[in-house]
Amino acid sequence: MAEKPRLLLSSSPSIYSGMNVQRLMLFVIIALLPTTLYGVYLYGMPALTTVLVSILSCVFFEVTFRKLTKAKQNYKDLSAIVTGILLALVLPPSTPWWMTVIGALASIVVAKEFFGGLGHNPFNPALIGRAVLLMSFPAALTTWHKPFQAIADATTTATPLNIIKLGGTLSDVAQSLGVTQPADVYLTLFLGNRAGCIGESSILLILVGGIFLLATGTIRIITPLSMILTAFLFSLLLGMDPLFQILSGGLVFGAVFMATDYVSTPLTPKGKILFGVGAGIITMLIRKFGGFPEGTSYGILIMNAFTPYLNTLVTKKYGYVSGRNNP
């Protein structure tokens, strides 16, 4: 007779919620789909190539690095795919494929695996990838194309933020976007038919993804809300057009998908609020005074460095009210 299997012994709890890392990453991928597909729709093959090259190289680098260092393979958690999509979405559609590969190398190997892989990276891997490329190839990373034009032979254009940075007015932006009324600029920016990075243009579709992430409990609204609100108020303070500042560039994309990255942002509610405030302020300072027209990625990366400190701002624990609080 076969021996009866022994009873399982482990410290309680004996049941689990069923949520796992793979499912959370899948939610993020699903949330990124609308804006990714829209980017491909706007810019065609070059955008699709960038997305695919980025995903494949990220997965390749993770698997290879882990193989070489004899570490456990983690590709099933889908986090490399998420990094791959995020990196592609913050690159211009015309980025040469080999640059994308270098960006993926920086993201996965330098920013993530050197620190121990998922859960240990102090900085957002995709943004490190973008930062490395922006420093190494500033021209290519600031070359923009109008939507619905073949990138190979089309003339380049400027992003709305570029136009404003170079002293342009809302009318100049309207002209560039091909709308007649300066007031229509906001609607066009919200819907996303403009030059920019692959995934950052349609605020509407980014928000759709964000709402999905909120509905599935994947992210909390605290950080994006505090970042966008701060950016709004601070740009007002700096004498900029706050609505235009929010709707253009990568601010909303960064707030929804980058400032909510689990590993590189604070865990505690207070920390999350301050992270958003800091990222919003730095973004606007760069846009107003910095050398680049856009500052979202640096705003978030700089705040990543503050995360360990922000994590010390924990919520008031149960049972530490002063005195006896009788009715």
Binding site: S12, I15, G119, Y318
Partner: protein, 453 residues
């Protein structure tokens, strides 16, 4: 009625439907009972009987001199066969008195006592002599809760019928079938403490109990509790784990927070499980010590989910298969609920004074996970019922930073397991905190000693 709750917590599948509608069955004649000497908080008892002695149901067989003294009683008539270590639900395998039934039916109960006529000291002595401990799980002597020092005035007694652990339904059935006993027990506590205000608290998944409880309260206030000025209300709380934890219950009902390291009496409240209150009622009305208890036998590998009352010390395996039928695919047995209960290695374990349920799980349900890496999603922080930061505590413990762990409130953890339940990476959070609390206490004790030199 406003449904209140606490901050944090989680919603595990209730699974209460398995046994919820099965009336309590009584199986009071096992062939043997195994009564452990250490089934309560406090020093273990000394046996008052020796091998070969004849004992009757209700006879005191073990006691001690300690501060948290609580005696144990024979739960059946029989002969003491052995006094030796036996497997136990807390895995300590302490010394137990083994009594073999001899078929007699004598009862050596105490004389009935009117709690509303006797003195406070007499009433407390009765609750102590009846060997009553908290039956919700902790096993804290009930009389201790009813004897607060004069510096800690009490103004509220809460009957805890929240039963927030998934699967378990014995408190629900007790309230449904024996509401008058529970209300009487609550009345006794109010009388002993000299308190007017009592609350019976349930979660809103047991809302059908409200009219039953209301009727029992009305009857009590007209009957034995008449003219005392008692104000007993029924309060419905949100169904959320761990709503039945003493601290969460008090905060949900009163807004008061039990201070760190303190007891409910520090905020003027006393909380008693409804099963405990029923036992208190019986100790006065029938003079019956705590010798029987109800529990829920349930789970995916239990073919006969039901609520049972058995003599304390009834060995689980003696109930199988006549009373409880178990499937072939049994992989885990939990004494208590799935969130805080203890997984045991054998079925040769007796039902103790604090056994509220036994959950049998099959291989599909009994899962263990390899520990993953924290992805810092913060779910544990959102869910922690004590508003701690489990992810950060975990890091502090892994880094052996005991000062930080202390600062982050490691000793305030009530070990409810919510953090581990919600963790998507299956980090062994509460498991590490249990061990960590012991280490931190040792580290602190060592430090104090050093400081004294």
């Amino acid at each position: 009625m406003q449904v209140k709750t606490f901050k944090g917590g989680t919603h595990p599948p209730e699974k209460k439907e398995l046994a919820k509608d099965v009336p309590i069955e009584y199986h009071l004649s096992p062939k043997q009972v195994v009564i452990h000497l250490n089934q309560h908080t406090g020093a273990p008892n000394q046996p008052l009987v020796k091998v070969g002695d004849k004992v009757s149901r209700g006879q005191k067989i073990a006691s001690s001199e300690g501060k948290l003294m609580i005696p144990h009683h024979a739960s059946i008539c029989g002969v003491v066969k052995k006094i030796e270590p036996r497997p136990q639900a807390n895995l300590q395998d302490g010394v137990a008195i083994v009594i073999e039934a001899d078929g007699r039916t004598e009862e050596a109960f105490l004389p009935p006592l009117d709690p509303f006529a006797c003195t406070r000291a007499e009433a407390i002595e009765r609750i102590k002599e009846a060997g009553i401990v908290g039956m919700g799980g902790a096993g804290f002597p009930a009389w201790m809760k009813l004897s607060p020092p004069p510096t800690k005035p009490i103004d509220l007694v809460i009957a805890n019928g929240a039963e927030c652990e998934p699967y378990l339904t014995i408190d629900y059935r007790t309230l449904k079938e024996q509401a008058p006993s529970v209300v009487y027990g609550l009345g006794v506590c109010l009388q002993v403490l000299g308190v007017k205000r009592g609350i019976i608290a349930i979660e809103d998944n047991k809302i059908d109990l409200v009219p039953i409880l209301a009727e029992a309260v009305t009857d009590f206030l007209k009957g034995p509790g008449a003219g005392k000025g008692f104000d007993i209300s029924i309060r419905v709380l949100k169904t959320k784990y761990p709503q039945g934890g003493e601290k969460m219950l008090i905060t949900a009902l009163t807004g008061r927070e039990v201070p760190s390291g303190g007891l409910p009496m520090d905020v003027g409240t006393v909380v008693q499980n409804v099963g405990t209150l029923k036992a208190i009622a019986e100790a006065f009305l029938q003079g019956k010590p705590l010798i029987d208890r109800g529990f829920t036998a349930t789970g995916s590998a239990c073919k006969t989910p039901k609520n049972l009352v058995v003599p304390i010390g009834t060995v689980l395996s003696d109930l199988i298969p006549d009373v409880i039928q178990i499937g072939e695919d049994l992989r885990r047995v939990i004494f208590g609920g799935p969130m805080m209960g203890v997984s045991v290695p054998t079925l040769e374990i007796p039902i103790q004074k604090n056994t509220s349920g036994v959950v049998f799980m099959d291989s599909r349900e009994a899962l263990v996970y390899e520990e993953g890496t924290c992805i810092r999603c913060g779910r544990c922080i959102q869910a922690c019922s004590c508003r701690l930061s489990p992810a950060l505590l975990n890091e502090a413990i892994l880094a052996n930073d005991w000062d930080l762990a202390d600062k982050l409130g490691l000793l305030d953890c009530i070990e409810c397991g919510t953090c581990s339940y919600v963790c998507p990476a299956h980090v062994y959070l509460v498991q590490r905190f249990r061990v960590g609390k012991l280490t931190l206490r040792a580290v602190k004790a060592a430090k104090t000693k050093k400081g004294g030199n």
